[in-house]
Symmetry: C2
Subunit: 350 residues, 2 copies
């Protein structure tokens, strides 16, 4: 393997320079060795949560829980948020997987489904019995990114239902309407540009109340990562199990660097760079955007017209294949922080 | 924080030189960026499992699953191995926690309990209805380490029950009787000397069969980390969720280095160094071993007679406090691979 390669892949992805430096520092300074019970860790944990809260405008009354992955977040949300029935907006492989996890955990579930690469009409009807509505802000398999206003509108139509938002491949680029959201979650190996091994789950006070109701009705909301257990340790800025201490530290450093950069500036550059790459590849008949409406700025999904993936690889630029059945016909290009996605326009002059 | 400190703590702990080098390499070479779907990761995963299998003499027909922690292993074992009832040999905080996790997951459970720092008689009776017996090879809270022959004897008395062994703080030092064991699990931040963020669960064919029965009877064995899901991805040398790719790579490198060192040599040195430190501290009235029978070689638990923890810290040697109620009266000294635990005898000459 070669460090000259650029991984413009939808995650795991290119490790950004801040993450790499912070990791190296954590390993050599002893941070990777400190106890997860005690003041040193508590301070690191609090600093990271504080930076993340500021970066993503997470309300103070919302909890930030550390999990191992976005996938774990799906499981913990269903275990703690659904007694009987969840409803899922499904527009790709990951929103579908959330739906299936509800079934695997012996809940009932329904879905509002649209074809891959398409988006929702806004007229979807959610069954009355649904306790929770699951939305995927950025569907990593198809590159469809929902509008903030769409999420708010769904929440406004169903004020009594809990709203869960998958922002795995769009946090912290995503500017979410927190007042309408009960759960949001992400992994660090996407926009944050870190090695995989840490997930975050953000939870509203209403969702914490709901977990008590689920505990009462079902007799269990899981064990060490039940919300009850997570809260009791979070009160001390600790975690129920030994967490990925190093990654929590590094996430704090990356979040601080993003804050210095300015999240609005990061969003603006992300949008501009995505627009340039979509336009360049289309104009030159190299690839055609797969998504018409709600095109993602962080995971660009395109129909490959020119063997683009292999051509870019010859220039040391690794991009993702299409997902699942589209692995050969499509490509996915990640556009995360500090990534020079414009390389995808420059490669022919190399 | 200071890299001159030695962390002789029971985990997280001192990062060994092999782990540190492998981490640095993984971050700079692109290994931390590769996809977890595809040949590159499959090769790394297979290489690590192969090295671990050889190092720990894990039979070929046993599966090695990657989890996020030893704590997660407790949950997955109960979810996949117990329909109604588990039995737990409890001799400290971690064996007690396994028992409680069974209750939290709506199972019934019983225990054979002895006082902290003590060990079992061998005459314990397990209720007939127990489907699984949980043993803790090395109780990290008390420093009691069970004999291999004790584990085999329990298994021989109850051949129809599944046997789960917590080896969180003793793998791969522990030489386990695999033919008698259905589950064994560990975390990498103990004897392997790596940063926290990865756990391994080793599972017998009989335990896989049992998970199918649990699925049939209870309708669920979890979601992405059900054994059914773990097996289907392990068949491709992949994992259901994006794993801690870097840690899997590093664990392979540490295991290979241990193989080169020879596991028997590592066990011998571990035993010798533990004996020297116990003897030195006792002889000089600095600390008194807390455990009489089944004294651990990897986590030395002692009653502190001399303010030992603070004294050692003044020599840049960090050791653990006692656990829970013993946090002030006791100390715990980790004796993991590449750790120079003999520093605990040398500090007064510094």
């Amino acid at each position: 393997m070669n460090n000259k390669l650029s991984y413009l892949t939808p995650g795991p992805t290119q490790i950004n320079t801040v993450a790499q430096q912070a990791y190296t520092e954590a390993l050599s300074s002893g941070i990777a060795s400190i106890s997860h019970r005690g003041e040193k860790f508590q301070k690191i944990n609090l600093a990271t949560k504080k930076a993340l809260r500021e970066l993503m405008s997470i309300p103070n009354e919302y909890r930030i829980f550390w999990l191992s992955s976005g996938t774990e977040a799906w499981e913990r949300i269903i275990e703690n948020g659904v007694t009987e029935f969840s409803h899922h907006f499904v527009n790709g492989a990951f929103s579908e997987r959330f739906y299936k996890i509800s079934l695997e955990l012996s809940r009932k579930a329904s879905k509002s489904e649209v074809a891959w690469f398409e988006t929702f009409s806004g007229n979807e009807v959610v069954p009355e019995k649904a306790e929770l509505i699951a939305l995927t802000h950025n569907e990593t398999s198809t590159g469809v990114m929902l509008d903030k206003s769409f999420i708010s509108a769904v929440a406004a139509r169903y004020p009594d239902k809990l709203i869960a938002v998958d922002m795995v491949s769009s946090a912290p680029y995503a500017d979410l309407p927190w007042q309408n959201i009960d759960y949001a979650f992400f992994s660090v190996q996407k926009f944050f540009g870190m090695p995989a091994g840490l997930g975050a789950l953000i939870v509203s006070p209403r969702a914490l109340e709901k977990s008590k109701e689920v505990q009462k009705k079902k007799g269990s909301t899981g064990s060490y990562h039940s919300f009850n257990s997570l809260v009791s340790f979070d009160d001390k800025n600790e975690t129920p199990a030994t967490p990925n201490v190093t990654a929590i530290y590094v996430l704090g450093k990356v979040s601080q660097a993003m804050l210095e950069n300015g999240i609005e500036q990061i969003r603006k550059e992300t949008d501009e760079n995505a627009a340039k790459v979509y336009a360049y590849l289309e104009k030159n008949n190299l690839a055609k955007p797969a998504v018409i409406k709600n095109r993602s700025a962080t995971v660009l999904c395109l129909e490959d017209l020119s063997n683009l993936r292999a051509t870019l690889e010859a220039s040391n630029i690794i991009i993702g294949s299409g997902y699942g059945a589209y692995s050969k016909s499509h490509v996915r290009i990640a556009n995360f922080w500090q990534m020079n996605i414009l390389k995808c326009c420059d490669f022919r002059s190399n």
